[in-house]
Subunit: 123 residues, 2 copies
């Protein structure tokens, strides 16, 4: 392979990476739209913010999907935890914004849970 071929192949890989990154950003934006809606729904209806059984199922499923796709399952789990940290940040913002408008026991609950070290809410 000469230098031009190498450069061309590199450019092709990069075009794929750029397309994938655009897809990832849009998928993430849509995921956060859903989790924000879940946060509002739970706060409004007094549902507990965390659901450990649901979270365990999500982790197990993502690890299985990662295996099938030849992605490191440990990375898939780290990725889910990375997303969850951002979800918690959003829920803290929702709870703070609710409590500044009307003092709402349900949303205060969400805020406390999100602020605690074990308080996590995937969806």
């Amino acid at each position: 392979m000469n230098d031009a071929d190498v450069k061309n192949l590199l450019a092709q890989y990069r075009a794929s990476i750029d397309n994938i990154d655009a897809a990832l950003v849009h998928m993430l934006a849509e995921r956060f739209r859903c989790t924000k809606a879940v946060g509002v729904l739970k706060a409004t209806h007094g549902l507990p913010p965390a659901d450990p059984a649901r979270e365990q199922n999500q982790i197990a499923r993502l690890r299985r999907l990662a295996n099938e796709a030849q992605l490191d399952p440990d990375f898939a789990e780290k990725f889910l935890n990375f997303i969850i940290r951002e979800v918690i940040r959003h829920h803290e913002a929702i709870a703070a914004s609710s409590s500044s408008e009307t003092v709402n026991a349900a949303s205060s609950g969400a805020e406390n849970s999100a602020a605690s070290s074990n308080g996590r809410q995937t969806s």
Copy 2:
């Protein structure tokens, strides 16, 4: 909204989240296929592992796409950095595996760069 409606709406959001997560895992798997191929290409042809100009363009583009999709651009940048850390881990593995087979100056370069605190390689 009664309890059944709330439960039903929550289940619908969760179904969307699960579909999105499956898409994310597969997109990530494909992205790592590309970056692994880039790592091998660069190591084989003695190209420098890091390309700071490319990386700056990627960050600026992802931030712009995030803005358009109403995703926090700071989160998009954090996300790219999270992925890059995994890419570096893969490149270290590629370099270690190359050097255990044949001592290759190019792949050693990739390993050194990946191991240094500033050595990063997005693609």
